[in-house]
Symmetry: C2
Subunit: 357 residues, 2 copies
């Protein structure tokens, strides 16, 4: 037995996986960062408790929709990984489907919002999504809003008037924006909700604990999966703090997926940039909590994460992953499930007296 | 000055309202009971933490509906007094309206469930409401379920199969019903949700604190309102722990309200008993948290509690209340708002792999 083999065996017996993990961890730390334990700041905003309280109320407020029955929390369900489990956006209600709902969890770390990146930040996303009737929006493949500018302005005004007619909201807006003389204003809705959403992060995933030095946080299969995830090239697009969310990529760059996964009439990022290079490009989704966010792809075409991984290998990397490789990569992806936000339901102020609308 | 007047003045100065409250409190205690501080037991059930955890998951579970997008919490919104603010059942979506949603808060204390009392208890109500597609049910004025028996059985089976396909649910049902060999069973869904719902009580309302001896818990206007509530006869129907919820009464017994409030095609309790005496009879709703549960009546025809009180006076008691009287009664009703349950959102297990449905 050669000396190097003896050293290796001793290392396995004494240092265990620590020795073996060091190299992998060094490579991983160049590609990924853990979710921070505290929510990041939004530039130009101060997250006061009053703003966060208002933002949480509005996040759970069904009366923010024109039909008074859809809140942010309905599609970005905080019991379900920040998505809707495919109810409206995929699954057997696919006739309603535009694009699959993207999770609100860790969305603050994404480069831009929506599959086509048409909202620069969370506040933009909120204002966009609220003003479009979400159910109608779902029918448009996330494209241009189905509301004309006149109606758009009127809908904004109706939302503001509604809140002005609810004393509990008038008080909450005043507390959140004490420096403003007329705080029940449309822009403040987006600001408050965005600040609340920035708190919806999921630290302490096994992968993050491992990144920080806890060798036991990942199983051997998960470490093998991570190696494959790096070596096969998945990290080309899925990297950074969100293991994705940082760039756009054409879906089907090597091999075009079937229409179920890539419907020909949804040109993705092209709708925003009108650049031909962006045809069929989509934001690379974050893989944080991917275990919880089925169904997958912008179409929500499958609930099967193994199938999703295999398809990515074929369409983006031109490789056929073996079943064992897919299993290991999925094992690694499961290590991206972090501590879910503990959310106490807000109590929403009642509308009383004659209707404001 | 006569002696009795002097005694009265001294009492006002020394004992203050305590003296004045004693008589009113004695009368009130014969008519009402406070909400207990701990949830009541359900006969024949043991509320283990595991059953309650499962019940809470199922309460927030949109996949329990056939369309996978409506949970109990959508219509019985725990941010909104246990109702939907009129979104589906009244308000400007009235074209969908069947009957106004009744609050789940303190529902455990009602004699029966639904406006027509067709469910004997919470477990029955759950099974009824889940099996009817709630959106379809809303179109039938809460009458016979719009699902035929064959479809009913098939829908039950689909729900059970769905949960059997989600490992997290299989584990949760096993923990909740450890004595059963096949715990993912339809009846257990109703049992678990009913147990969770029984915890949704709102103790410590100002009125309850006053009933227990805290004279300061009610304002003078609220005490005047309580007196009127008793003297004018409201207590004939609105009494007991839930200030209602204990009996059926014909709506319009003295004077028939307009069709907006009492549509001629909804015969109420008659649909259950087929007794002509029950034509247009409805369960007397609980007035607990009534401040939070607008819009009012089985039609959700008004958000204005003063208008609702005035109409009740006319239609049920044949009296015309003065504006001051209505104001005081509403002030009293506002004292029925209790401590809302603090609900931490459950995390629901993901469906993964090929669809079970």
């Amino acid at each position: 037995m050669r000396l190097s083999s003896i050293v290796f065996l001793v290392a396995l017996l004494v240092g265990g996986p620590a020795f073996a993990d060091a190299g992998l961890r060094d490579r991983a730390k160049e590609l990924f960062q853990p979710i921070p334990s505290a929510p990041p700041a939004i530039p130009g905003e101060t997250a006061t408790p009053e703003k966060l309280a208002l933002g949480k109320m509005l996040y759970f407020e069904p009366r923010l929709s024109e039909t008074h029955d859809i809140s942010c929390a309905d599609c970005h369900n905080l019991s379900m990984g920040g998505v809707d489990g495919g109810a409206l956006s995929g699954g057997h209600n696919a006739q309603l489907a535009g694009r699959e709902v993207l999770t609100v969890l860790n969305a603050i770390f994404n480069k831009a919002q929506y599959w086509d990146g048409r909202a620069a930040d969370l506040s933009d996303q909120v204002v966009n999504s609220v003003m479009a009737n979400p159910k109608a929006m779902l029918k448009t493949r996330g494209g241009p809003m189905p509301i004309n500018p006149t109606e758009h302005a009127a809908a904004k005004q109706r939302a503001v008037e509604l809140f002005k007619g609810i004393p509990g909201y008038v008080a909450a807006f005043k507390l959140a924006f004490p420096e403003q003389s007329d705080p029940v204003a449309y822009a403040n809705i987006g600001r408050a909700i965005a600040l609340f959403e920035a708190t919806l992060i999921t630290p302490d995933a096994p992968f993050d604990r491992w990144l920080k030095g806890d060798d036991q946080a990942l199983s051997d299969a998960q470490k093998d999966g991570l190696k494959l995830f790096i070596d096969k090239g998945c990290v080309t697009c899925h990297n950074g703090v969100n293991v994705g969310g940082g760039m756009y990529a054409r879906f089907g760059v090597v091999k075009q997926p079937s229409a179920e996964f890539l419907p020909p009439d949804d040109w993705g990022r092209y709708a925003v940039t009108k650049a031909i290079a962006d045809k069929y490009a989509f934001k690379v989704p974050s893989l944080r909590n991917v275990e919880l966010t089925a169904p997958y792809f912008h179409t929500g075409a499958t609930f099967d994460l193994k199938k999703a991984v295999a398809l990515m290998g074929e369409s983006q990397l031109g490789i056929e992953l073996g079943a064992d490789e897919t299993d290991k990569i999925v094992a690694f992806l499961d290590s991206l499930t972090g501590r879910q936000p503990e959310v106490v339901l807000p109590i929403l102020p009642p509308r009383t007296g004659p209707p404001a609308l």
